[in-house]
């Protein structure tokens, strides 16, 4: 046992050692007393009883952005710098390397992108279970339930948050697999960008954007142009987009903003090839002709205000209108060409709002309450008839976040959504009163999560959540076999994850399992009571189990080299269905495994480079619910980018980049399906090796 130190008695100061008399020493000390610098004097131990109470030190700060380590979900953020270095042409291509997210393209042109999370990717045939927001505005369309990615320009993107797992407790409809939130470029000061790029397949693109401030008023505008002949014949694509906005900065009272845009896109759709993939037949366009045009206009307000009582209001009223026309000629080269014309109109309007307040209780508590009111109108007309539908959705939620201790955080919330769907069909249906249908659905979506910050740079979390999606208007009232009696699809998900965000290493792992009830699925084996010429109909599958593992890691080895990797295992298997025909079957299109590797180099003289590899495993083709058809084979592609940035003058930069895609010239089909008409297998070969280059002038002051 170590003895406790014994306090030494204070030694008597002995002045004799100096040779001076003791009184002289006292005199000298007395004279020297005013000296301010006596720091060199040894200080005796402070007595315990002499305590001087000083005034209060006050440290005031504003509450900071929530750390992603604290969020009980698998979240990644892609910032503007990563977007600029990605070499990606569009947002879906940017998301290809994200763990847990699966991007595929059903037509090989920009119209065909489908982005889904957590095993819900079935090829775009049945709505979307990933909600996409742009500055808080839902962009999943009412008819398909999916976003039209051609209306979102990568040039507008400031950052993207990718959240895997159900988010219906806050966002409601569609947020089963995940939520992708895109934030567009804002900021103060003046900036302008002028960019142009060219590539193979007669591809060209241009961008002009500018933003400036006049006191509290901030203005921004951007226009983009894109044109390509596409890899396949008859896959031409042309897009023109314009977007503008104004923000009024009210200082501490908040910000009021208005954003609007218009876009028109013309698309030709190559049809499936029946030759085996791997052959060099990408120049062919398939047996069918199809082309269309779609126009979109939107406006959204942004109110971010400090209300009395230290309540923050955030409201996003919005309006969107889209019109599309499409003409197809199926089997145009055969003996029985079959023309098909479609027109549809959609109008969506509503408001999304929330109020938040921080309570200073025994535990810091943030409470957010919010709601949504939305109305979707949909009309579709085909050669066979016309349907129309109207959906009104009302949603309300409450969400709370509490810091239980320094290292433990709890969040929980619940949302209620009510949907009123009315429609008029072109043919009678048993569930409807004649031609008129009226369906009401309501869903509760709870969510809870707990996070333990076991280290400054690390956390563990567990989360439970439920998600849902209402049948989209195409599934309920669409031209291809309406089924308005479809039930909403719901999921109950559990997730366990760990994250690390250190100086050099960033990594995350998530294990999830979701029990999905009434998953909406196009059943090609079911008879369509309304259309004998078009077999199969949208149906609810009783129980599908989605489970998997998501891994993300990046490491900055030194100042010039960084490596990144992602890997995903997904398993979506039918556990129960009314007929029993699908039990034990895996759902199509989503591969069991996929992953990506990347290396980023920062080189001298303003150069930077990156190389990446993408692996996608074998998967079933669309509509192959029994697993008997040919598979989509696994593939590995390599891409590279070299960029050069040169500061011409202060605030003026020139950026030149060259991009190579599918460098190993892998021949593979990205998407394929089983024809419900002919039971033939069709494939959509992906683009071969290609190169593109671009130049960009950036002004920032």
């Amino acid at each position: 046992m170590i003895p406790a130190p014994v306090a030494q008695p204070a030694r008597k100061v002995c002045a004799r050692a100096s040779g001076l008399p003791s009184r002289s020493a006292f005199l000298l000390l007395a004279l020297a007393a005013p000296l301010p610098a006596f720091a060199a004097d040894p200080q005796p131990p402070a007595p315990a009883r002499l305590v001087r109470e000083a005034g209060e030190v006050s440290v005031v700060a504003t509450r900071a952005e929530r750390n992603l380590l604290d969020v009980p979900a698998n979240v990644t953020v892609i910032d503007r710098a990563a977007v600029a270095r990605s070499g990606a042409e569009n947002v879906p291509e940017l998301l290809r390397k994200e763990a847990g997210v699966f991007t595929t393209n059903t037509t090989t042109n920009p119209e065909g992108y489908s982005v889904e999370a957590r095993g819900f990717q079935n090829g775009g045939g049945n709505g979307c279970r990933t909600l996409v927001l742009v500055d808080g505005r839902r962009v999943n369309e009412a008819d398909t339930g999916c976003p039209d990615w051609t209306f979102i320009s990568l040039d507008d993107v400031d950052r993207i948050e990718v959240v895997r797992g159900p988010g219906s407790a806050v966002y409601g409809d569609n947020a089963i697999g995940g939520v992708i939130h895109i934030f567009t470029r804002r900021g103060e000061g003046t900036r302008a960008t002028l960019a142009a790029s060219v590539g193979e397949y007669d591809s060209e693109a241009g961008e002009a954007s500018a933003a400036t401030s006049f006191g509290a008023l901030r203005l921004r505008a951007a226009t983009t142009y894109q044109d390509t002949a596409g890899f396949r014949q008859r896959s031409d694509f042309n897009a023109k987009r314009v977007r503008g906005g104004v923000d009024l900065d009210l200082g501490e009272r908040g910000v009021i903003g208005l954003t609007g845009g218009y876009a028109t896109t013309e698309r030709s759709r190559p049809s499936a090839l029946f030759a085996p993939y791997g052959t060099r037949d990408g120049e062919r366009g398939g047996r069918d002709l199809s082309a269309g045009i779609e126009r979109e206009r939107f406006a959204q307000g942004e109110l971010n205000l400090a209300l009395p009582g230290e309540i923050a209001l955030l409201a996003t009223p919005f309006y969107r209108r889209s019109r599309s026309e499409s003409d197809s000629l199926f089997g145009f080269a055969g003996p029985f060409p079959f023309p098909f014309h479609t027109e549809d109109e959609q109008d969506s309007s509503g408001i999304d709002f929330q109020l938040s307040h921080d309570f200073d209780l025994a535990f810091p508590l943030r409470v957010i309450i919010g709601g949504e009111a939305r109305k979707d109108d949909y009309e579709v007309a085909t050669d066979f008839g016309a349907n129309e539908a109207e959906r009104r959705v009302l949603g309300a939620f409450v969400h709370a976040e509490v810091t239980l201790a320094d290292d433990w955080l709890l969040s929980a919330g619940v949302r209620y959504d009510d949907s009123d769907l009315d429609g008029v069909l072109s043919a009678p249906l048993a569930e409807c009163a004649g031609l008129r249908c009226d369906f009401d659905d309501a869903e509760w979506s709870p969510r809870a999560g707990v996070t333990w910050r076991f280290a400054d740079a690390g956390s563990l979390y567990f989360a439970f959540g439920e998600g849902f999606r209402f049948p989209n208007l195409n599934e309920a009232f669409g031209a291809y076999g309406f089924a308005p009696a479809l039930k909403p699809e719901t999921s109950r998900s559990y997730e366990l994850g760990a994250k690390w965000a250190g100086e050099a290493w960033r990594a995350s792992v998530a294990f999830y399992q979701a029990r999905v009830r009434d998953e909406i699925f196009f059943n090609p084996l079911a008879a369509n009571p309304l259309n004998p010429f078009f077999p199969g109909i949208n149906d609810n599958v009783d129980h599908v189990r989605h489970r998997g593992v998501e891994l993300n890691a990046s490491h900055e080895i030194n100042s010039w080299l960084a490596l990144s990797a992602s890997f995903t295992l997904d398993d979506a298997t039918v556990r129960d269905d009314a007929v029993g025909a699908f039990v034990g079957e895996r759902l199509p299109i989503t591969p069991k495994s996929r992953g990506a590797l990347g290396a980023q180099l920062t080189l001298p003289l303003g150069f930077d480079a990156s190389i990446d590899a993408l692996f996608v495993g074998e998967r079933r083709i669309a509509n192959d619910v029994t697993g008997n058809a040919a598979r989509l084979q696994r593939y590995v592609t390599f891409g590279a980018r070299v960029g050069w940035r040169h500061e011409i003058a202060a605030g003026l930069a020139l950026v030149i980049e060259a991009v190579g895609r599918n460098l190993s010239n892998e021949h593979y089909a990205e998407w394929g399906g089983l024809s419900t008409f002919t039971n033939e297998v069709g494939f959509f070969p992906a683009p071969e090796r290609s190169f593109a280059g671009g130049v960009r002038l950036e002004i920032e002051r």
Partner: protein
């Protein structure tokens, strides 16, 4: 030499030394030494200047008052820093102690100094709030 003479010589020597020190500017006969209260206030100001709100506490909305105690060592730095009354948060307690340890050129004070350090988050609506996809509110 008699005892009186020795004392006189010592006194003369001391006076001569003092006069020389005044001439050299080492002793300011006009300025009064700062009082203990003034030096205590200086200590508080130095600690205030060194205090930083922990980022993790800002992110999680943690507020509180930590009361710390220390003494000033001969080098003008805080020694034997300890928390005598916790804020309820180890993050804030550690940040308060760190503020004292980071403070420099503390004036000499005999005894212990005890300072309450209040960490407070301002309730301001930050510009461009958007509801984050993670369900929380984030600031752009």
């Amino acid at each position: 030499m008699t005892r009186a003479a020795r004392m006189l010589a010592a006194t003369v020597l001391a006076l001569a030394t003092a006069v020389e020190a005044v001439r050299a500017g080492e002793i300011d006969l006009v300025a009064a030494p700062p009082s203990a209260e003034a030096r205590l206030e200086q200590v508080r100001e130095r600690v205030q200047a060194a205090a930083v709100y922990p980022a993790a506490a800002r992110e999680r909305g943690i507020q509180g008052v930590a009361r710390i105690q220390f003494r000033v060592d001969p080098a003008g730095r805080a020694a034997e820093v300890m928390t005598v009354e916790s804020s309820g948060s180890q993050l804030l307690d550690a940040a308060a102690e760190q503020a004292a340890e980071d403070a420099r050129e503390l004036p000499q004070l005999y005894g212990w100094v005890r300072i309450p350090v209040r960490f407070e988050l301002a309730r301001r609506v930050s510009a461009q709030l958007f509801r984050s996809a993670s369900g929380a509110v984030t600031r752009r």
